[in-house]
Symmetry: C2
Subunit: 504 residues, 2 copies
Amino acid sequence: MIFLYVWKLQSCWLFYSFRASVLCFHLWGGSLGRGLASRSESELWTGPGCTTLSQLCPDGTRDYGPKQMAIRERAFNAIISCFKRHGAEVIDTPVFELKETLTGKYGEDSKLIYDLKDQGGELLSLRYDLTVPFARYLAMNKITNIKRYHIAKVYRRDNPAMTRGRYREFYQCDFDIAGQFDPMIPDAECLKIVHEILSDLQLGDFIIKVNDRRILDGMFAVCGVPDSKFRTICSSVDKLDKVPWEEVRSEMVGEKGLSPEAADRIGEYVQLHGGLDLIERLLQDPKLSQNKLAKEGLGDMKLLFEYLTLFGITEKISFDLSLARGLDYYTGVIFEAVLLHQENEHVEEAVSVGSVAGGGRYDGLVGMFDPKGRKVPCVGVSIGIERIFSILEQRLEASEEKIRTTETQVLVASAQKKLLEERLKLISELWDGGIKAEMLYKKNPKLLNQLQYCEDTGIPLVAIVGEQELKDGVVKLRIVATREEINVRRESLVEEIRIRTSQC
Amino acid sequence: MIFLYVWKLQSCWLFYSFRASVLCFHLWGGSLGRGLASRSESELWTGPGCTTLSQLCPDGTRDYGPKQMAIRERAFNAIISCFKRHGAEVIDTPVFELKETLTGKYGEDSKLIYDLKDQGGELLSLRYDLTVPFARYLAMNKITNIKRYHIAKVYRRDNPAMTRGRYREFYQCDFDIAGQFDPMIPDAECLKIVHEILSDLQLGDFIIKVNDRRILDGMFAVCGVPDSKFRTICSSVDKLDKVPWEEVRSEMVGEKGLSPEAADRIGEYVQLHGGLDLIERLLQDPKLSQNKLAKEGLGDMKLLFEYLTLFGITEKISFDLSLARGLDYYTGVIFEAVLLHQENEHVEEAVSVGSVAGGGRYDGLVGMFDPKGRKVPCVGVSIGIERIFSILEQRLEASEEKIRTTETQVLVASAQKKLLEERLKLISELWDGGIKAEMLYKKNPKLLNQLQYCEDTGIPLVAIVGEQELKDGVVKLRIVATREEINVRRESLVEEIRIRTSQC
């Protein structure tokens, strides 16, 4: 399959350790700055283009240059590998949806939705996440059973904080399981997936907080929160990872009109976190155990922990009553993965990270799009890739690992003048033979410049045509790293290059 | 590298010929309809969901279901392979740009740009193509030399004609070479790339029309078109692939106020098409040869054909004086690839195709974004993927090839009840060993249903746990195609599955 063979080589070529001298080569500066590597006209790598005209790019967005794309590919490949390991199919949806599709799904966050201008026709909005489009897709196609992933950009008119990885345009990598199944098996798999991805990416220590909306709602009920205030009090609790309890309490009492007694009762619960022992304790809690919702949630939480024990990952899981999650559509288990500290402590100005993945169960969302309200239970996880990028970028910078941004196997070069036609003929043969080949776009380039280009860009081989070689029916193949040169018969060149670049 | 190994398997697994019986399985119906395959609750593939609620998706957009994504991946892999074979790096830019970035770049087509609503802050528009964002990126980062590709969606408020592959949201696959180089070498490479991609994808016979804006402008001058009317007359000529000369002529004379004599002189030129012979003839043309621009353009066209002869592709190239291209920013060579006929003539209602790739030289665009107007010469090509999808979809339908939408290697199954925990333990071991594994999310699934799931989805192996196997420390591995069953020691299972699924 010609379509796919390139990937077999990619693993060899993506990352290349420069053994030869490297002039003027270094990675871009800031962790998230727009300083992209650029090449000067002399075909040498120069420093980052620091004097960018940043006003040319919309607020909260960024370009990805070739090096940043290479890092992005690393992260995506780890994530996609994991999703495929778990048997997921892939889908894609449009970047904008009908405005009404998004209306009423995001609670207080709805104000952050980007609308398109009314230029006649339908009212449209840019997608805010991938979950609502997924639910719309399921309802529209009457799909009641699917395991899919979707990696795409989403849009939020938030205050950008780009050095902390908060953008207005950013990627989400979503994995969801839709269908009516026996309880907690898909939910446990979602947590296993988060665990696998964060372990694979080696982002340092992490913890996955788990809770359940039913436990939260049951807790609110037994603490004396009126039904009508459940969602808004839930939003307050959601802030506990960023602000101290005292502030959250005063928001509950002051702004949201909750009684101080109810707030204090909540305060006792939301300090709790633990494992199976805590679940058992709460199942015995005189108040919670009397609440139907809380009891259901705690029973399922216990089952979840049993499955996670079989997966061997409970060490990284914390049942945490302060976890609330902002979005309205969750109905059961919710979770959020948090990095505990920055791996490369020696890096100055470590990227402040935090939540890198989140998700939960949303059994009611699909039904909101179905004319007859038919429900499709769903559970899923979303990996927030921008913060992970920041860390990978920073780590790469610290490691001084050089990164290749092309996969070129060979440069077609000439030793004398007037050989442009011969270079064109040879490179055409190589391309047609499936070899990744470049040449300098000059009529008469100097051999030294051609060799230098290879050293600068990591191209491992040079195929040199000269008048003598043409007469002899051979091509001189130079191995850049060792400076060794061998004559290869022209008809064997494709095979020779393939062999020499297949090992890593 | 764990990040990349998955691709090595993909070529084996993406397309799987079902040998076993396949119940209820067939591809979706119409060539571009939204009928996506869905799974029923019994975990069997069912027919396409034909009764879609199409009003839930914005006009001119579509979802891609798992099967459509598999086809899309095929096309992208062919295109990306080619771009990488030519040594291109990859970049990405935001989906929206500042409105002013797009203003004044697209001529008469500017009315098709999607604007975002003014919600405070900057005025934004969705990108209309990838060329203008690329030029903005080069200027902003002061890059004067790069060869890059970019594959992303672009947006046009056009009248959608989805059965003909015309959408409001669609992919472009762009390859561009920026930098000051010796003439026509990068231009020739762009044409080589189009030739390689269209040949690889086996879309049937095609022709690549080539012209040069300087030849067109020279022609207009010698035909007596006033300077001020060059661009608008150029737009009229651009319509010649869709409407007959008489209509174009009456637009020139009637709407655009050109003299009938000038129009008739143009009429004589725009009928011409050919190869090197025609270039030679026009270089001797008493009028054209006196025009500086035309002479330059014809000289370069001759050089281009010499290089294309070395590449061995002139057979598919036609120097065509009626080719004009709509966009304002072209300054030199322009080209457009057209499919000549539909490959699968036996398919009813063949997708009407046409242009599938286009491009040209735009030496002035980057300078429009540079405060000092510094120019960076560029040439590039854009592959229009939607029409190619239509053809690939149709062909797949006609071929009755079955397509797999997951890469799952093994289903973890149980032969008796009460083995959910054992299945969870085993699947966890397989995932951790890098094996793509699924299980049914049921406590006590029937073995028959588990085997049926494999046949329906193309999973080649089943790892069966039973009480006896657990006692013996083995797992029963069943090969779905042959129904052969062997006992494998548990510690060898990962390796055994890897070996059995590595050959294709």
